[in-house]
Subunit: 158 residues, 2 copies
DNA sequence: CAAATAGTTTAGCCTCGGCTAACAAATATT
DNA sequence: AATATTTGTTAGCCGAGGCTAAACTATTTG
């Protein structure tokens, strides 16, 4: 047995902040974060490629490198990975393109990102800050929270 | 020159969602996320050790392993790192303790975590979901946004 | 067209954060 | 006290995601 801890008592004394959640629930919190971190970078790449295609018509490795502030070698390696995952197609010295699966991921990620960004702005966060925070937060927002953020934004038009 | 991209035009046509931010600003978004990810796990460990000390009186490696759903070997290795960073003190088969620096980090992280958690609950997110989302979001919320979340929570008491 | 510049890929290195397996030490049980 | 169980450490493995340096390919420029 590894859980020699006794379970927390029912919510009685609320003296010093919240009590610890039950072990299994607590464990799921951290697991969810670890899972999000596995797909986070992939999503950011795919989303960025989609945005570059949408706004620039093409997505070159060098653009990704400068926009992410990462070396071209790093981008090159990641593109190989995206290729193996069936998310992008690439011919050397040509623009990258998204596969069907890549387009789906880009669309989903972009939508989620936008909801978070617009929500933060609706809350009153300055644009630059909202963009920075949204870039990280987007990967840790559940569908439930996302829906609430969207409703909030709609009902708090500026 | 690696930025052969031309800078986006001033915000004129707002047809298909937001425009791409300027390269340097965009780069800072991703850099901020990478920086957050460097300290994230450390903060979670220190925060958890602080919570275990607060609520249980002691923090054992085995508790951390089960609460994080991670092997004991992983915890053991991480404790060595926390030790080298001067955040915890440990004697084998005894509870871990936080150094002064560790206590400061735990306090700061806990406060931030609580603001995010209470904010999500005030928004209407169910407790279990709020806990999961807060565990990831907490590391990506700027001081500016944090302050706004706190104000929001205070003025939206249920 | 030759040379310079820009873009891409590859190779090799590093740290981090997981894991399992084996062992050691402390504690609990009989 | 002997044994069983729990707890902790160590070694060695792995993949992800960074980096630099070097080579190669395309494109642009003189
Ligand atoms: Mn995004
Ligand atoms: Mn992101
Ligand atoms: Mn994160
Ligand atoms: Mn956390």
């Amino acid at each position: 047995m590894s859980d020699h801890e006794q379970q927390p008592l029912p919510p009685t004394s609320r003296l010093s902040g919240d009590a610890l959640p039950p072990v299994e629930q607590h464990a799921r919190q951290y697991e969810t974060v670890r899972n999000a971190h596995e797909t986070e970078l992939i999503e950011d790449y795919v989303e960025l490629i989609g945005d570059l295609l949408r706004h620039r018509g093409e997505a070159r490795a060098a653009d990704i490198a400068s926009r992410m502030a990462v070396s071209q070698a790093t981008v090159s390696k990641m593109i190989r990975r995206l290729n193996e995952l069936g998310l992008v197609t690439s011919r050397p010295y040509r623009s990258l393109f998204l596969t069907e699966a890549g387009q789906n991921m880009a669309e989903t990620s972009r939508a989620r990102h936008d909801v978070v960004l617009h929500f933060l702005r609706a809350l009153g966060v300055r644009d630059t800050t909202a963009r920075i925070d949204a870039e990280g937060m987007e990967h840790h927002v559940s569908d439930e929270t996302l829906a609430i953020m969207q409703r909030f934004t709609e009902t708090h038009q500026t």
